[in-house]
């Protein structure tokens, strides 16, 4: 058996958002030993991970979108949280604001939102920031305006909760994960609604760790499709996606170091030889053949300030126009700092490309 060094990796990815996770998956899939260093959940806590077709610059390599999205779709399927849809067919998903969001791909638990003819929008007694009547009023008006035939009807259900406990989607999600009685209660409350609808839309609360089979089971009991509408943070569907992707990456052999910020990138000339992680007691130095920065728009400080630009291989450039590191890549929102919206499509595209670039260099340490 190969003995591996505990602080030495083929690739270190900094940041566990959609871009970082895609990069880690791409590289691990190609046999690299990958470490993923992160703090927090990235954008997962704010949304559901839907992918929209957004304008790309030629340097983003739009020609690779299909390949990258294809890889990600397969990755999400293996992680037990499959995405539905294709890039060339945009669809409109309802939101809790009663508007439609144009996306091309979405996790399966949102996708029924595209299939509804007679939708029931279900509010929950006592749950703030979700008003089914308001959502339906706006969706119906918007649908009519768009010439769609779908109708949205508001319902209100009551779910038990302890006295004095303020209902929240996080609380319902935890109970969904842990308590079979709660899942039954949900079925009982939704059954009358299911009779008059083909899709039930409800605030995102179907568990933080639930699998596809759990949600399918619920749909089967109801005889009706379900569609979650992501709520204010923390977004339960987003956290579920994050948990599923992390679980799968761990199975692929990716080492997670979550909770500790990277304080420094270390260089040997124009070669990034690792990162310093601010761990308790003493900082931990990790070395790597390649480093991918996926830590969001506010982490440019790690590069010593806003880079002068990026080359065609996603490498941040120094003042002199040369790459800061021949093996250092920037992806996702960090790459887009000052260049308008990043978007999940770009996160996946650049994550996939950087993962491949890192894998193009020979992996010296076998993944196990």
């Amino acid at each position: 058996m190969t003995i591996m060094e505990s602080n030495r990796f083929d690739l270190i990815v900094v940041g566990a958002g959609l871009a970082g996770m895609t990069a880690a998956a791409t590289a691990a899939d190609r046999g690299l030993r990958v470490a993923l260093v992160s703090t927090g959940f990235g954008m997962f806590v704010f949304g559901a991970g839907c992918i929209a077709d957004q304008p790309l610059a030629p340097s983003d390599r739009p020609d690779l979108v299909d390949e990258a999205i294809g890889f990600f779709t397969e990755f999400s399927r293996q992680a037990g949280c499959p995405f539905e849809g294709t890039m060339d067919r945009p669809v409109h998903l309802p939101t809790i604001l009663g508007s439609f969001q144009t996306v091309s791909l979405a996790p399966f638990y949102l996708w029924n939102g595209t299939k509804a003819e007679r939708a029931a929008v279900v509010g929950i007694e006592g749950l703030s920031s979700f008003d089914a009547t308001f959502v339906c009023e706006r969706l119906n008006a918007d649908a009519k305006h768009r010439g769609q035939t779908t109708t949205y009807t508001p319902f209100q259900i009551t779910l038990s909760h302890e006295d004095g406990v303020f209902p929240s989607t996080l609380q319902f999600a935890n109970r969904f994960d842990r308590d079979a009685r709660f899942r039954q209660e949900l079925v009982d409350a939704l059954k009358p609604v299911a009779r008059s609808a083909d899709v039930i839309m409800l605030p995102g609360l179907l568990g933080l760790r639930s699998r596809q089979r759990d949600i399918a089971q619920l749909e089967k009991s109801l005889g009706c499709g379900l569609c979650e509408l992501p709520t204010l943070p923390p977004s339960v569907p987003g956290l579920r996606l994050s948990n599923a992707l992390e679980r799968h990456l761990r199975q692929m052999g990716v080492e997670f170091l979550s909770g500790f910020p990277v304080s420094e990138l270390t260089f040997n000339g124009r070669h990034c030889d690792g990162v310093v992680v601010a761990t308790p007691g003493r900082p931990r130095r990790l070395s790597a053949t390649s480093v991918i920065l996926a830590s969001g728009p506010f982490s440019a400080g790690l590069l010593g300030g806003q880079p002068s630009g990026f080359d065609d291989n996603l490498r941040p450039l120094a003042q002199d126009g040369a790459a800061l590191g021949d093996n250092l890549y920037a992806i996702g929102a960090l790459l887009s700092a000052g260049r308008g919206r990043a978007g999940n499509q770009r996160a996946i595209l650049t994550g996939y490309r950087a993962g491949k670039l890192a894998a193009g260099q020979e992996g010296r340490y076998a993944a196990r």
Binding site: S6, G40, D177, P233, L257, S258, G259, R282
Partner: protein
């Protein structure tokens, strides 16, 4: 990771902390780390009365600290509030003892046979439940004579290290110290056992800040000298390790000299597996393992995860031929040291652990391995499986006889 002191504006209310809190997941009525930590801290700093029974329910697992994208020291804010929390006399008396496992251990290990008979007696359990609000559903760990003489390595090249045993090893499992010294000896370390007492984490967890500070000062005094001589401190209990690395300096920050010494100790503290992994990295780990055909399941204790050292035991054990090992990755066990012994918290402690128990049942291992003594207690109690410290398995794979009786 926690910052030492934090501007409360760092909390953006994103609720990442709430979404990873094991207590909130098991107990919907719990107020949650965001509210008990940074939100109430604003009011506490204004001097407003907002004492709250829920602060007692924080497990101190540090998962909120690790989840925070903005490095707010959430659990430390709750621990400080816990220290100011007013509780009824009975619980005060009980928690006085729970905060002092060192003192309790010294008394109970004078005549361990008698102590164990007493602690196990039905009538004593009934009494402790009635008078002290200690649950009768659990069994206290057996106490032993604290004999910590360990084998000495020979040879001039052996690196001298100091083993910080912690209360669980000192008073309940002293034979584990011998196993650990044997492991270290095999890998070129000469071990002496530190006479230092409790690390102070139980005091902090029971809201006894003054006792935690005293423990910290005593340990800085005794370990500081050894570190100054260039010795590394080795821990095998993740909570002791977490305390020495991440907690101690903050307890003595009123004294810059002490604080700086505490940081030096933290810098030189190594988890046992972390240290053995450095040997492995240098290609110097003794890998003369015999075949051990066994299916293991590894539970990473919270205070292991919070040290940021990865999963060294998981990687060490998988170097043994024949070992199949699965990382359970199922969160906190819910024991949190003495928390699970408290009558009013027993049910909730078991509810927190349910996810882990279910996961173990699904994995169906021969043996569960985990470094933390109270995690082992909880898993044995909740999942009814054999649970051992990973050091025992490593020693066994070397052909050495682990002296630890299976419990």
């Amino acid at each position: 990771m926690r910052q030492d002191d934090v501007n409360l504006d760092n909390c953006l209310k994103c609720s990442d902390c709430n979404s990873v809190c094991p207590m909130l997941a098991a107990n919907p009525a719990y107020a949650g780390p965001k509210h008990l930590g940074p939100e109430l801290e604003r009011l506490r700093r204004e001097g407003l009365p907002c004492d709250n029974d829920w602060v007692e329910y924080c497990l101190g697992c540090h998962r909120c600290d690790l989840a925070c994208p903005n490095q707010v020291n959430v659990s430390e804010l709750i621990a400080a509030a816990k220290a100011r929390h007013a509780k009824p006399l009975v619980r005060k008396v009980r928690d006085f003892w729970f905060a002092r496992p060192g003192l309790l251990g010294r008394i109970l290990s004078i005549a361990p046979t008698l102590s164990n008979a007493l602690l196990g007696a039905k009538v004593a359990k009934f009494g402790m439940k009635q008078v002290m609000q200690i649950t009768s559903k659990r069994t206290f760990p057996a106490y032993a004579k604290p004999d910590l003489t360990v084998p000495q390595a020979t040879g001039a090249e052996a690196e001298k290290v100091v083993f910080f045993p912690g209360c669980a090893i000192r008073f309940n499992q002293p034979e584990l110290a011998r196993s650990i010294a044997a492991l270290l000896q095999r890998n070129g370390f000469d071990t002496t056992v530190s006479p230092a007492g409790c690390c102070g984490i139980p005091a902090l967890a029971n809201g006894d800040l003054e006792e935690a500070r005293q423990r910290a000062r005593a340990n800085i005094e005794s370990l500081g000298r050894l570190v100054a001589e260039g010795k590394k401190i080795v821990t095998s209990c993740p909570s002791c390790g977490h305390m020495l690395k991440a907690g101690m300096a903050g307890l003595v920050d009123d004294d810059p000299m002490m604080e700086s010494k505490a940081r030096q100790i933290g810098e030189q503290t190594y988890d046992l597996a972390e240290l053995l992994m450095t040997r492995s990295d240098q290609g110097k780990l003794d890998t003369a393992f015999r075949q051990e055909p066994v299916q293991l399941a590894y539970h990473a204790p919270c205070h292991q995860t919070s040290q940021g050292i990865g999963r060294p035991w998981y990687h060490l054990l998988r170097q043994i031929p024949g070992v199949r090992i699965e990382d359970l990755d199922a969160g906190c066990c819910g024991m949190s040291g003495t928390f699970g012994f408290k009558e009013e918290k027993y049910e909730t402690s078991m509810a927190v652990g349910q996810r882990l128990f279910d996961r173990i049942r699904e994995a169906g291992p021969d043996i569960v391995v985990t470094e933390c003594a109270t995690c082992r207690m909880q898993i044995e109690h909740g999942a009814k499986v054999t649970v051992v410290h990973p050091a025992e398995l490593l020693l066994k794979a070397y052909g050495g006889q682990s002296e630890t009786p299976r419990r």
